[in-house]
């Protein structure tokens, strides 16, 4: 992992950006502290100078210049390591008292460099200067009082130092954090890239590893994996359809060909030809039906209908199917008994749900003998509606129940009845996109198909309301 790649990651850039923003806000904050503190200290210093000047002025008022001189000298003597400096100059410019030589004082505020000799061992003249106030006394001599401003400088230096450290540590943390973050990020992105490359190269079953932390990269990986699952299942379904068409339509097509060839070689009368043509058209129609059913299943499995799902009156579908097939069953010497709870609504596709139920009922009608009874039930249960299509025919052996949903799978005994072997595949496809759980049970005797519509209900609020009403 080279440095350029790390620096170019979003993680690193974000860390750098935050560090820069933090630095900027620190500069503003420290500047404010710097100025406010300096100003406050300077004012304090000035106030102290003013007080001293006032005190000395009072001495002079009481005792004249000699008392003032005495007071100054006493003050100087009391502090061997002075921070306050005095100077009294007579009108002729001669120093009368004080510890500040070589200065020509004037009235008002002034900054005076501290004389080296009085520095108390401190060599740097920049750090030590005096904040001084000079006043003219009544006899026109000038009194100057000054305070060493090194405290201010000291505090200012401390602030700048602290600022420097803070900035340095921030930059270091940001850089390290950014790099650490980026390395982790890059490692996981690389894993995703590696998997993607593997998939592109043909290993479609490969999946990105997730860490289970639920962070954004994990979610990305999960979504990508789900997308891959979907793509794979669609590809499988496509492959399945192609092979179904190739293999299972070959048989009826070869039958058709045989029939036509027989007619060409054996037919003697015009009626023979006519009947061959009729039979051939019927055969082609049946092939086309199978073809259409296959495409329809593939289309349903692709799941594009899901976008058009809306509220559907399931009770209404059950009622009309029961009525439609009640008559059909009766004509075949069978009976249909229906018990349908009213007002059950689910989210789905009316057309597909109708076909699913029709296929189940037709399946029951076609695979049961005369005298059979078919039950069509829809019950408003908790947590969700349950639909049932049950017959008392031969049923399906337990070990075959999973297989009947496969395309073109037909139980041996039903080979004699016409049919494409796609009816239950379509049921499975419709149930799948709706989230309906289909269970095949033994009706003792017969087959009991149970449809659990719990996952299709129109939101939990409606389901609860329905439950409470009972």
């Amino acid at each position: 992992m080279n440095l350029t790649r790390i620096i170019r990651t979003t993680g690193f850039r974000l860390a750098a950006l935050y560090a820069a923003l933090f630095g900027l806000s620190a500069v503003i904050l420290f500047s404010a502290i710097y100025w406010i503190t300096s100003d406050a200290l300077r004012q304090q210093l000035a106030a102290s100078v003013k007080r001293e000047v006032a005190a000395l002025k009072e001495e002079q008022r009481i005792g004249g210049t000699p008392r003032l001189t005495l007071a100054i000298e006493r003050r100087i003597a009391s502090r061997p390591n002075p921070t306050t400096y005095y100077l009294l100059v007579d009108p002729e410019g001669r120093t009368v008292a004080g510890n500040l030589p070589d200065v020509s004082p004037r009235e008002g505020w002034q900054g005076i460099p501290l004389p080296q000799t009085h520095g108390g061992g401190v060599a740097d003249p920049n750090e030590h200067h005096l904040v001084a106030l000079g006043i003219a006394l009544e006899d026109r001599s000038i009194l100057l009082v000054g305070e060493d401003a090194f405290q201010i400088v000291e505090v200012q230096e401390a602030i700048v130092r602290a600022f420097g450290w803070a900035l340095g540590v921030t930059a270091l943390l940001a850089a390290t954090g950014g790099i650490v973050l980026s390395i982790g990020f890059l490692r996981r992105i690389d894993a995703i890239n590696r998997t993607s490359r593997a998939i592109v190269e043909g290993n479609l079953s490969d999946r990105i590893q997730t860490r289970g932390t639920g962070d954004e990269l994990d979610r990305l990986a999960i979504n990508l994996n789900e997308m891959l699952d979907r793509v794979q299942s669609l590809m499988d379904s496509l492959r399945q359809v192609s092979s179904d068409i190739a293999h299972d339509l070959r048989t009826p097509l070869s039958h058709l060909r045989q029939r036509l060839e027989t007619a060409r070689s054996k037919a003697l009368k015009i009626e023979d030809y006519e009947s061959a043509v009729e039979q051939s058209i019927a055969a082609v129609d049946s092939i086309l039906l199978t073809f259409a059913a296959l495409l329809r299943i593939a289309q349903i499995e692709a799941g594009t209908r899901k976008a058009a799902f809306s509220a559907v009156d399931l009770s209404d579908i059950f009622r009309s199917i029961a009525e439609t097939y009640g008559a059909v069953a009766e004509d075949r010497g069978q009976s249909v008994a229906a018990a349908i709870d009213p007002g059950i609504r689910i989210l789905g596709d009316r057309e597909l749900l109708t076909q699913m139920l029709a296929n189940l009922v037709e399946n029951a009608i076609r695979h049961t003998p005369i005298g059979a009874r078919i039950d069509i039930l829809l019950n408003d249960r908790h947590p969700g509606p349950i639909g049932t299509v049950a017959d008392d025919g031969a049923g399906i052996p337990a070990d075959m129940r999973e297989k009947v949903f496969r395309r073109f799978f037909r139980l041996e005994q039903s080979r004699s009845t016409p049919g494409s072997g796609l009816g239950l595949s379509l049921v499975a496809a419709v149930a799948d996109i709706h989230g309906i759980a289909v269970t095949l049970l033994d009706n003792e005797p017969g087959l009991r198909v149970v449809l659990d519509f719990t996952n299709t209900s129109l939101g939990s609020a409606a389901a609860t309301a329905r439950h409470d009403r009972r």
Binding site: L288, L289, A292, A293, L295, R296, Q299, T304, R305, A308, S320, E323, T324, Y325, A327, V328, D331, D349, R350, E351, L352, T354, Q355, A358, E362, I365, R366, P418, G419, G423
Partner: protein
């Protein structure tokens, strides 16, 4: 009828033209979308049969354009695009019917006739009458020769549809789509069963048959000969 066919496959086009000529229709043919739209917008037809996948301009766009130009000529889509969504798209674009290839010519002919003589959109009729059979759509009652006939809801729907198309052949598929809303081919005799029941209630015991079977095509409800 004057019928416009917009179809790019020459074999299908010839098949359609010949078939329709035999049934005394005047046929004009365009083999691409642009010419088709030009004819559809410029001339007056009784019916248009339009393929969906066409060179130049697709059928869906033609129908949308024609409809936005307030041309209300009945349109039938005749296409290999037989998906559920395809049919919905086609009807939403403004087509009146949708027939998937391959098709039986009898089916197409029945649909053409049903479309061409569609009742006006704002039909306010509350009773349908053929000979001595009367259907009250508001009270949902049926009488024949003054005698009350009791029908199941689906039988009523079936009769209503046949009455609305009285005198015209309706095919099994048309009945499945319009009465049962089945857009698939059932594996049992749904239509036959219900037609036979309806017959036993409407025709049996009365003078003259109203519901007739047309071999190879479908059914027709008309006054007895």
């Amino acid at each position: 009828m004057k019928i416009l066919i917009i179809e790019d496959d020459p074999e299908t086009a010839t098949y359609l033209q010949n078939g329709l000529w035999q049934h005394h229709h005047i046929v004009e043919h365009a083999n691409n979308g642009r010419d088709g739209l030009f004819l559809a917008a410029g001339e007056t037809y009784d019916l248009m049969i339009i393929d969906r996948m066409l060179p130049g301009l697709d059928g869906l766009s033609i129908v949308k354009t024609v409809r936005s130009a307030k041309i209300l000529t009945p349109i039938l889509f005749l296409t290999t695009l037989g998906g559920i969504d395809d049919r919905v798209d086609g009807l939403e674009a403004g087509a009146d019917d949708y027939l998937v290839k391959p098709f039986a010519f009898a089916e197409l002919l029945a649909r053409i006739n049903a479309l061409a003589r569609r009742p006006p959109m704002a039909s306010t009729d509350t009773t349908l009458r053929v000979a001595d059979l009367e259907v009250d759509l508001l009270r949902r009652t049926v009488t024949r020769a003054g005698r009350r006939v009791d029908l199941q809801p689906q039988e009523f729907k079936l009769l209503e549809y046949l009455m609305r198309k009285a005198g015209h052949i309706v095919t099994r598929t048309m009945l499945l789509e319009n009465v049962w809303e089945f857009h698939f081919d059932p594996q049992t005799n749904v239509v036959e069963t219900h037609i036979s029941r309806l017959r036993s209630k409407v025709d049996r015991g009365f003078e003259g048959e109203l519901i007739h079977t047309v071999r190879g095509s479908g059914y027709v409800l008309r006054e007895p000969d």
